[in-house]
Structure formats: structure tokens, C-alpha cells
Symmetry: C2
Subunit: 102 residues, 2 copies
DNA sequence: TCTATATATCGAGATATTACGATATATAGA
DNA sequence: TCTATATATCGTAATATCTCGATATATAGA
């Protein structure tokens, strides 16, 4: 866990918000019938909800992916992003260790 | 807890390191006899350990103080900084809530 | 193959952060 | 009051981040 990159990825309210939204699929419009089997949420839905440009959201999701907080899965033309709960917990533990425990 | 400012204050390896060092007074040179009663560590010691300029450390400590992670106490010409464990724990809990719990 | 759609990447201007040296302020002691 | 020391504040150049629009790439379907 690269704490440098991890904290940096979280040092943005929208990226933190997206991570939070991804906790619950119902924060987004229902999946299309052909995507019922795909895990996660496509970039377009995240973009719409966040209200930022497509390129910005794509970069944001990449930043979150680089540190492992989310994973990406391609299904056709769509990329679906979903949380990596282990990595998120790992970060919280590392942060707790770094700040609290001597 | 202003998460915006809090994460921003932690988005710097030296500031995180300082918070960690402050966990244990023995990370710094022993206190002068006339400071035996003062809680915390003076700016000069922190500066020396961090290896950055005096003005930078002063600004860093102020950033940490603004979000409540440390508190400051003046004793004569010295300012002593020490951790606010409650606020740090409050931040860790808030972070955990924001990231993990839906 | 051609077109439409979804996403990724690129380049850039605006803004924020970093870290410094210079200077100001506060206090202790002569 | 004058000087020395500790810390705070100011002005700054360098660097990083934010966010966009334009463009490139990937895939599905006609």
C-alpha cells in the first residue's frame, strides 16, 4: 500500500464521494438488462451522478484504480468499476497504524 | 471535523511523519530543564528532525493545528506542540464511516 | 467496412501546494 | 531599553492538481 498515492487519491471530495456511492449499487440508475451479470457501475453513470466531465471522471477512476481502491472490468464498450473492500480496509488499517499506534 | 481540511493536512508525508513522531516524546532530544513541565515538543526540535526550514515547519504545524490534530502551548519564547488524540481518533472514525460503512 | 457509442488519453489554463529566504513579532535576559 | 532567540508571517518560484475540450481507441452492430 503506497500511502503517498493512497492519501492523494482520497484528497478530493468527489473521489471520496464516488467511493462512497459505489458502496451501494442503488445509488445509480438500474443496470441495463444486458449488464445484469456485470459487477459494478459504468463510467457514464458515475459521471452523470458526479456532474463532472467524462475525461475527469475517467482520470478519477484511474487514480482510484492505481491505488487499488476500485477494480475495473470491461464488458463490451463499457468499463465497470467496483470497490475493492480489502484494499480499502487495508488503507484504513495502515492509516490507523501510522497515526495512532506507536 | 472538516474532512476536506483534515485529509489535506494529512496529504503530505512529512506532516504525517511529524504526527507519528509526536506520539513518543523520546523521538526528540530531551526537554531542557526549564521545560520539564511543558507538554509537547518545541518547533525547533521538530524542524531539526524533519530537516525542513523553520518557516515551513511553522506552517505545517499550523495546518495540523487548524484541523485539531495538534494543540499548541506557548511557554516563553517557545511554542510546544502535542497531539490531540481525540481529534485524531475522530478523524479515523469519520474516514472509516465515509469509506467503509454505507 | 462504416458508424455510433463508451471510455481513455492528451494538452492546456486556472488554481493550489510546496518550501524557501526575508522579515515581523514575542519573549527573556542583560 | 537593547540584544538574542524562538516562532510566525509574508512574498516567491517551482511544482502538482484540477478540470476541461479535443482527440484517440475499443467495441458493437448495420
Amino acid at each position: 500500500m503506497d500511502m503517498e498515492k493512497a492519501v492523494s487519491a482520497l484528497n478530493n471530495p468527489i473521489r471520496r464521494q464516488i467511493l462512497h456511492w459505489l458502496k451501494d449499487r442503488s445509488n445509480f440508475p438500474p443496470a441495463l438488462p444486458e449488464h445484469k451479470d456485470a459487477e459494478g457501475v459504468c463510467v457514464g453513470y458515475i459521471q452523470e451522478k458526479a456532474g463532472l466531465s467524462q475525461s475527469t471522471i475517467s482520470a478519477y477512476m484511474n487514480a482510484l484504480k492505481q491505488v487499488g481502491f476500485v477494480e475495473a472490468e470491461r464488458h463490451g464498450q463499457w468499463t465497470f468499476y467496483y470497490r475493492n473492500e480489502e484494499k480499502i480496509q487495508e488503507f484504513l488499517n495502515a492509516m490507523s497504524n501510522e497515526l495512532s499506534i506507536s
